[in-house]
């Protein structure tokens, strides 16, 4: 109960700050509209207003403050505007509508999940190889690290162009970019997890004359599970980012990335922010879902107490 109160306090503080920030951010636009509508604005000359600070303008024209929260195309939309847009484009629209965020979210989510599956599979395979082969440890790990130092925003268009030229398009290129971002945390976590059994545990298996594969299935793999889930949570969030980034350079017509892009083309800030929030909520749901699966799996294994 106490923690809920603390969380709500933080949320309230953010909302208050946000409303406060809307005033100086939007005041210039509001004053232009107000002047056109015939209101008296201080100072009257647009040139003077341009050189004045937003705070000064706010003090001189405090009648305009409520309007900074109600603009059609604000620089910074107010929280309730984003909330209303989110509501209208999710609950208020048919799922099949091209303006429904559920539809766009599903387009992005499907690429995210496919990419996450590919990335996780690849990550686990690489980790198994790295743990069992010194050659792979020395040759693959440095490249895996280098791969993550390249900005994905630079790489994404190339991946899309290259795949398009060999006839692959649609969901696959986005999933590839997703996988590219999500395999890395899985590799790192799984390598650590598979190596987590200590010397004593390995010696014990040696006294049983256990084979390498028995050691893997009975000791290394189960011991790596807590590490795997920690990595998967990072991986799925990275996957979502990958899918959204994959939608940007193609000028895709569907997906949360496409909504972001269209919003910025047409100055629809409310649309941008609602797409951002949709992405954040989607990521939170995915991570929470993985947390739930983690709890169930570890509980079944008897590890979680």
């Amino acid at each position: 109960m106490k923690s809920i109160l603390a969380v709500l306090t933080v949320v309230a503080a953010i909302v208050v700050l946000w409303y406060a920030a809307c005033v100086p951010m939007n005041i210039k636009g509001v004053l232009v509209e107000a002047e056109r509508a015939g209101a008296e604005v201080q100072p009257p000359s647009a040139k003077d207003r341009r050189d004045m600070s937003e705070f000064g303008l706010t003090i001189n024209n405090n009648f305009a403050i409520p309007a900074t929260w109600e603009q059609a195309r604000p620089r910074l939309p107010a929280p309730h505007q984003v909330a209303v847009e989110l509501w209208n484009t999710t609950v208020g629209k048919k799922i099949t509508s091209k303006r429904s965020l559920i539809y766009h979210g599903w387009v992005t989510l499907s690429a995210t999940l496919l990419g996450f599956a590919i990335g996780t599979g690849l990550g686990i395979l690489l980790a198994v190889g790295i743990v069992h082969s010194k050659v792979m440890d020395m040759s693959v790990m440095p490249w895996a690290i280098v791969s993550q130092t390249i900005p994905i925003i630079a790489l994404a268009p190339m991946i899309i162009v290259v795949l398009y030229s060999v006839g692959v398009q649609g969901i696959i290129p986005k999933a590839v970019i997703s996988a590219y971002l999500s395999f890395f945390p899985v590799v790192v976590g799984m390598v650590k997890g598979l190596r987590s059994p200590d010397h004593m545990q390995l010696d014990l298996l040696r006294t049983y004359n256990a084979s390498k594969s028995q050691g893997f299935w009975k000791l290394r793999l189960p011991a790596s599970m807590p590490y795997l889930f920690a990595s998967l949570k990072i991986g799925i969030a990275a996957s979502l980012v990958g899918a959204i980034v994959g939608e940007l350079p193609t000028g895709a017509v569907a997906g949360l990335g496409a909504r972001l892009l269209a919003g910025s083309y047409y100055g629809q800030t409310v649309q941008i922010w609602s797409a951002l929030f949709a992405a954040a909520i989607l990521a939170a749901c995915l991570v929470a879902l993985l947390g739930l699966i983690e709890r169930m799996v570890l509980k079944r294994m008897g590890i979680a107490s």
Binding site: M200, D203, Y208, P222, G302, I303
Partner: protein, 264 residues
């Protein structure tokens, strides 16, 4: 050959050497170790840290490879003996898998060695009873006390019926009251199973109380300074520790340890 087997020692070390090459030069972990352990012996290895007692036990288990001399286990090389699953090994920590119940932990070696399902269940029940943990098979390790966990790990080492049991300071991390109790149980178990036991400890009372043979070792280089055949009877209640015989043996062990220290 077969007639010889009855008299042949179960474990025999002759002029055993083990030198580790480290960055600071060679370390003589074991030097000129000669020892015979016969079937049914309870042998304790005692000495200060660095004397090679654990290293010697690990050599017997083929977890370390000696650099000189000869060592045979059941008439084979230690590595052949390991591959024949000649011994069960108990480490200082119980090392139970947290994701397996006690019964499943005990099944681990049985699964690896390919015992049939029904045989596995029977053996688990037998050894759980042997270490006095019947009814705890379905519990997870974290639900058990440290002493019970160590008993479970002993049960795991006993499950596949190796006739040698090697124990590396198995009760070192437990408090004295629990340790006394486990020592008593271990003697009882030894009497019932007729196993040959190698037991590493740094506690003099524990070594004297448990053993038929006490091997006193000293460090730099790790070597045997004294081998004491215990005159105590096989039947040993806890209060045997107040008898003059017990105190005399303990005294001799202490002397041996001191002698080992005198020359450094």
């Amino acid at each position: 050959m077969t007639t010889e087997n009855t008299t042949q020692p179960v474990i025999e070390a002759r002029q055993l050497d083990l030198t580790f090459q480290t960055n600071d030069g060679p370390v003589h972990a074991l030097k000129d170790v000669n020892l015979e352990i016969n079937k049914g012996d309870f042998v304790s290895f005692i000495g200060p840290s660095g004397c090679g007692k654990t290293t010697f036990l690990r050599c017997i288990a083929a977890l370390e490879t000696p650099t000189g001399g000869s060592l045979s286990v059941n008439g084979m090389t230690p590595d052949e003996a390991r591959r024949n699953r000649a011994y069960g090994y108990v480490f200082q920590a119980a090392g139970l898998y947290p994701w397996r119940t006690i019964a499943k932990n005990i099944k681990l070696p049985l699964e690896i060695m390919g015992y049939s399902k029904s045989d596995q269940d029977k053996r688990v029940n037998d050894v759980l009873e042997l270490v006095d943990l019947d009814g705890f098979g379905g519990k997870y390790p974290w639900q058990l006390s440290g002493g019970m966990q160590q008993r479970a790990s002993i049960a795991r080492a006993l499950a596949f019926d190796a006739d040698i049991l090697l124990m590396d300071e198995p009760f070192g991390a437990l408090d004295e009251i629990v340790r006394d109790h486990l020592n008593e149980q271990l003697l009882e178990l030894w009497a019932r199973t007729d196993k040959t036991i190698g037991f590493v400890t740094h506690s003099i009372p524990e070594a004297v109380y448990l053993s038929t043979k006490i091997v006193v070792m000293s460090p730099r280089p790790g070597r045997i300074t004294d081998v004491i055949e215990s005159p105590l009877p096989k039947e040993r209640p806890l209060d045997i520790r107040d008898t003059p015989e017990f105190i005399e043996v303990a005294h001799r062990v202490r002397e041996g340890l001191r002698a080992g220290h005198a020359d450094d």
